[in-house]
């Protein structure tokens, strides 16, 4: 913006760096198990996650139950990015103007056709086992999105656009957030606080911990749908510069 010399910028940054380092000296030592950060909520999560929601993966338990609102808002951020990219880039141009060179060899096409279903199956596995091993909604969504992008890379954008038109895919994204939101809304209507999964117990009629576990699974499904759609949409819109009509 202004013409400043490189030296001035580096000097200012070094001053800022010294300022940050000066604050570091007082922070608790790296790796100490009795740091204050572990005392309040961290240990509570480790001790109670498995008991309260049958989820040995404590990260998923925190993400989808204890701090479910953060996840709902984060999924909304993803959806918002999808809307924003569509709004900014969507133009009325025709996809036939998009010049792409698709000269994938026969081997590539066959092997991709064989590879994509196991990838998607693996993504669903990651989603379903989010409780027991590292995984969950976001990871599943990213893997599914990348399987769609792989299709677009190997078979060409035009063919993929015919199969997955953006107008339908954005509705899938909205539907994902709606799933998450409506689970919370059901809990609210049943008399508890928003996103309090124990209120689903009367509908699902199992133990409370199992109800919470199922609640986590449902919201993760919603999250993965949204992430998958938006990642695919972002790729399509950035590659075609928005000209996605037929």
């Amino acid at each position: 913006m202004f013409k400043v010399s490189r030296l001035l910028v580096i000097l200012l940054l070094l001053i800022f760096g010294f300022f940050l380092v000066s604050g570091i000296g007082e922070l608790p030592l790296f790796g100490n198990p009795s740091n204050p950060v572990h005392k309040q909520a961290g240990n509570y999560y480790l001790e109670h996650a498995e008991i309260e929601m049958e989820s040995p993966n404590v990260v998923t338990a925190v993400l989808a139950d204890y701090r479910a609102v953060d996840t709902l808002l984060e999924t909304t951020v993803v959806l918002l990015a999808g809307f924003a990219v569509m709004l900014v880039l969507f133009s009325t141009g025709n996809i036939s103007k998009f010049e792409e060179v698709v000269n994938s060899s026969y081997i590539l096409k066959i092997s991709t056709k064989l590879l994509i279903p196991p990838v998607q199956l693996f993504a669903l596995y990651v989603l379903a086992h989010g409780h027991h091993s590292p995984g969950g909604g976001f990871q599943c969504g990213v893997i599914l999105g990348s399987s769609l992008i792989l299709q677009a890379l190997v078979f060409g954008v035009k063919e993929t656009l015919n199969k997955y038109p953006p107008k339908r895919i954005i509705n899938v994204a909205i539907f994902g957030v709606l799933i998450f939101y409506s689970i919370g809304l059901i809990c609210f209507i049943q008399g508890g606080n928003f996103l309090d999964y124990s209120q689903l117990q009367s509908i699902l009629s199992t133990t409370e911990s199992h109800t919470r576990s199922l609640g986590i699974l449902f919201v993760e499904i919603g999250v993965s749908l949204t992430v998958m759609s938006v990642i695919y949409l972002m790729y399509i819109f950035l590659i075609t510069k928005g000209e996605v009509n037929n």
Partner: protein
């Protein structure tokens, strides 16, 4: 009972935002009107309930305060929510019939982004968890970037610049939260307050404080970091800047208040930041600067944006005086300034509706063609100058009183200076508006009835807040 439905303030715009893209344009437009009305009634209902009872906390997910996220409802939060939801309602009433002309096919996504922006503002006001605040901050920022980019052309550059600066600001805020988190181990404002109360605060808390302040000042548009603001609001479509300009900067200012004073007490901040008067001097300099350049503007929008930037500096200055009276003045000014800037922008939107431009050279004689609109605009300007009985007078009065009590005479003087500059600008404007001949041949009617209604509401609200300012101040303190 109000505790249970209080979360609906966040939930209603959220469900609106999710449903609008799935519906037809007409249904979506009127649904957004209904949504804004519902939020307003809800906010008024909860506020009237809370007047007699204590403030309360809403735990999302049913978990206790530190384990999960909590929202905090108290009197000032709800007053601010009422102001925001009335701005939402008035914007919708004003623009709904001709949204489809402006946006065409993008209408439902625009409504959705608008609803998410408002939801995030309500969330920013209500949340009591500093990381949740960061997520809401990012939602409001992303929706702002997208809404501003709807202006096309130069708006893309303005939006990208806003994006870079806004993300740096939010990340600095996150870094400050990181330092606090590493030192104290909790993210809830009330828990932090109880831990911090009895401790001697050291260097890392100072660093985190400075980082949070830097991040929020960037988002507010305070003096050295205001560069993104004029371009962003000038090139965005009028229907966007009408509701965004009054709100987003004030909410960020309110966050400064919430995070800093929610966790630390005034004396702790004064001990940690002995040079806090630096910010007051910064605010003084910026008020002089913006006052001076507001005269040289040749466009109504730019003039109002200069005034907006000066008003942000009022807020910064009165906050950093850090006394009880100046902080009440700060809170009052947040409310009154949102209303005043909104009234100003609505008048500009009405003028642009018929006139298609708000450059001074295109405004000749408008006062005689659109008398009602121009009167409203003059009244809004008078309120910004500080004429009683409108709210601008009271907010300036309280700020100057708070400044003089703490010996910050130059800051008080700068407020009077900026009023003077605005008087000069208005004085230059009035002849153009009223005494020149109207050269363009256009339709001979004034703006439609609904717009007159909105203008009347916004101006009346200025009077209303002014007249009841005394009781409002008692509530806030």
């Amino acid at each position: 009972m109000p505790e249970r439905i209080s979360i609906l303030i966040i939930l209603i715009p959220f469900i609106g935002a999710l449903l609008f893209p799935l519906l037809k344009h007409n249904i979506a437009k009127y649904l957004s009107l209904i949504v804004s009305m519902l939020i307003l009634f809800l906010a008024i209902f909860i506020f009237s309930n809370i007047l007699n009872n204590n403030p309360f906390e809403y735990n999302l997910g049913g978990w206790k305060r530190d384990v999960g996220v909590a929202f905090w409802f108290n009197k000032f939060n709800l007053i601010f929510c009422i102001v925001l939801s009335s701005i939402y309602l008035l914007t919708q009433i004003f623009f709904i019939p001709h949204y489809h002309i402006i946006y065409g096919k993008k209408l439902t996504k625009f409504l959705s982004l608008q609803a998410l922006f408002f939801m995030s503002c309500f969330g920013l006001i209500l949340t009591a968890d500093i990381f949740n605040l960061y997520v809401f901050l990012e939602i409001s920022a992303l929706s702002s970037y997208a809404l501003i980019a709807l202006g096309k052309g130069r708006a893309y550059v303005a939006s990208l610049r806003y994006l870079i600066l806004g993300s740096v600001g939010a990340s600095l805020y996150l870094l400050g939260v990181g330092f606090l988190f590493a030192k104290f181990g909790t993210l809830n404002i009330f828990e932090l307050q109880s831990i911090v109360q009895n401790q001697v605060l050291g260097r890392s808390t100072f660093v985190s404080l400075v980082l949070i302040i830097l991040g929020l000042l960037l988002k507010m548009g305070q003096f050295p970091f205001y560069i993104w603001l004029p371009e962003a609001y000038e090139h965005s479509p009028t229907s966007v800047s009408t509701f965004m300009a009054p709100i987003s900067t004030k909410v960020s200012a309110f966050l400064l208040f919430k995070v800093l004073l929610g966790v630390f007490s005034i004396s702790q901040i004064k001990n940690l930041l002995p040079e806090s008067t630096f910010f007051v001097h910064l605010a003084t300099v910026s008020i002089f600067y913006f006052g001076a350049i507001s005269i040289r503007q040749n466009c109504l929008k730019k003039m109002l944006l200069c005034v907006l930037l000066a008003e942000i500096s009022y807020l910064t200055g009165s906050f950093w005086i850090l006394s009880k009276s100046s902080l009440s003045a700060f809170s009052f000014h947040i409310i009154s300034d949102s209303l005043m800037i909104f009234a100003g922008f609505v008048c500009i939107a009405a003028i642009e509706y018929l006139n298609k431009s708000s450059q001074f050279k295109d405004l000749k004689g408008i006062g005689r063609k659109m008398p009602f609109t121009t009167m409203c605009f003059i009244l809004a300007l008078l309120s910004l100058i500080g004429l009683p009985p409108m709210c601008g007078f009271f907010s300036k009065f309280y700020i100057i009183l708070g400044a003089f009590k703490e010996q910050h005479f130059l800051f008080g003087a700068s407020l009077l200076f900026s009023s003077l500059m605005l008087v000069i600008a208005t004085y230059k404007l009035i002849p153009i508006l009223f005494f020149e001949d109207y050269k363009k041949i256009a339709s001979s009617r004034d703006v439609p009835l609904r717009m007159k209604f909105v203008l009347a509401c916004s101006i009346l609200s200025l009077f209303f807040v002014g007249i009841f300012s005394g009781s409002l101040m008692k509530l806030i303190s």
